[in-house]
Symmetry: C2
């Protein structure tokens, strides 16, 4: 193996493994570094190399085979768990009018119906929310008001409004938008939405939040891009994948964060509450 | 940079980038190769290096910054699209009795109710299915029979039964099961479930499948592990992440495959059709 072979192999293996597929360090690999990522050969090899066909133990014993490692301390609160499971419900706002200034865009009639139906469904579920957090954008605020009319708001321990949860572009999606967005959007929104993730997503630690049934329920009423980015980050999936998901208006997404830091996506874009004519995406 | 540094760097960068986070090839990286994946430093660096805070263009111009590349030819049918969008609906079977032999396990009363409710919802949606494919395991077959009683089965163009869709262990999950499963399970099930993915997931190509409204609707009634693995594979997410999702009984998952090979998860584990007492996971 020459040095150039080693370095090209390094880049090839970086690219390939970034693509969440394993890569075997063989001489033949050197010949692949000019091929596009996911060449047929690599796809086939990866079925074997990446543990699809054998147990983790068997894979571990082989060199140059790697897993997408779960970060048990993703929230930097390892060992701080208080035994409580956090159930985080994320609602996208209802359908809204696309005209006007971003901050002033209002719900359509359909959007108001969607919010009312979801509010009823939430009320029927008998879930008591320890906390409701609402994006400060008008369409989210309107959605929240309608939902709060349906549920027993007096039982909600805490209602907050948050600028961090406003809609934006969390990071450049892969595959990319057909028309690339201005760099300024990502520059301003990306870190702000990541800040929202770090503020709201972590295992339950405070004594106060500990409830008798050992779970807390929190409702976040915000926006599609924000929710999709949260899902990728919470599940430790590539954040660039956020645009591979689509969320209907007033659809419900639920993420459970357990005491030990494990995270489960219980549902994404749940829109089973709505009649077909109210299934909208914008 | 010594050779040992290079090679340790190579392994470190492989692991890190497999973890779907970018990695910068600096000398400091050499010092990190003994640290656990996702060290604080790396997590922080990755916010900058992985495009969270700037546009793709800005990132592209920097060396040693990598994206999770989307494989446009994942189904090996690039350029074969016929203009039709495939809407793939995946239903997990209803709640079932856990006792008895795997192949004979029957639905519980709740499981039958779930199937009936979902069947009504599907009927109300007015979706005409070009194809319904059912796992050959009893609990899936029973679920399908109940759903077919609710929808106008005479309009379904094709109903098939498939052994490839039977439940199994697609690949060792990450994070791992608390109690590791026998290697034989992955060995037998993994490639069979991958075979099911390759059989059913691809862009629409055949002339026959082209419908006037330029979309086809297909219903697959199968199992939680199978569906979660399909979601990971279809969205090009790390397959090992399948266990980070949870699917309720008779919940609906929808994946759209577009003519150009793009794929969207429209909903996962949609269980909004059910009253709280019928929200079960096993």
């Amino acid at each position: 193996m020459t040095y150039s072979c080693k370095s090209s192999l390094l880049l090839a293996s970086l690219s390939t493994s970034i693509a969440a597929l394993s890569f075997t360090l063989t001489n033949s690999a050197c010949e692949q570094n000019t091929e596009p990522i996911f060449s047929k050969t690599q796809n086939f090899q990866n079925l074997w190399e990446n543990g699809y066909l054998c147990s983790r133990e068997a894979v571990k014993q082989k060199q140059n085979v790697h897993f997408i490692r779960w970060d048990g301390n993703w929230d930097k609160r390892e060992g701080c768990g208080n035994g409580v499971t956090r159930k985080i419900y994320l609602v996208r706002h209802g359908q809204y009018h696309l005209t006007g200034e971003e901050k002033d865009k209002k719900l359509t009639e359909a959007g108001r119906k969607q919010a009312k139906i979801l509010g009823k469904a939430v009320a029927d579920s008998k879930i008591v929310f320890d906390r409701i957090v609402v994006s400060s954008l008008k369409r989210a605020q309107e959605t929240a008001q309608i939902i709060l009319q349906e549920i027993d708001a007096s039982k909600v321990k805490k209602i907050e409004h948050c600028d961090l949860l406003r809609e934006g572009l969390p990071c450049p999606p892969e595959p990319p938008f057909q028309q690339e967005k201005p760099e300024l959007c990502y520059y301003k929104d990306g870190v702000r939405i990541e800040a929202a993730f770090r503020k709201y997503f972590h295992r339950s630690v405070s004594e106060k939040s500990a409830s008798p049934n050992m779970e807390t329920n929190e409702l976040y009423i915000c926006h599609a891009n924000v929710i999709r980015y949260f899902v990728c980050r919470a599940l430790q999936l590539p954040p660039e994948a956020w645009l591979r998901m689509s969320l209907r208006n007033c659809s419900l997404t639920q993420i459970n964060i357990y005491d030990d830091g494990l995270v489960t996506l219980q549902r994404l874009g749940d829109a089973g509450y709505f009649p077909p004519e109210l299934l909208t995406v914008s």
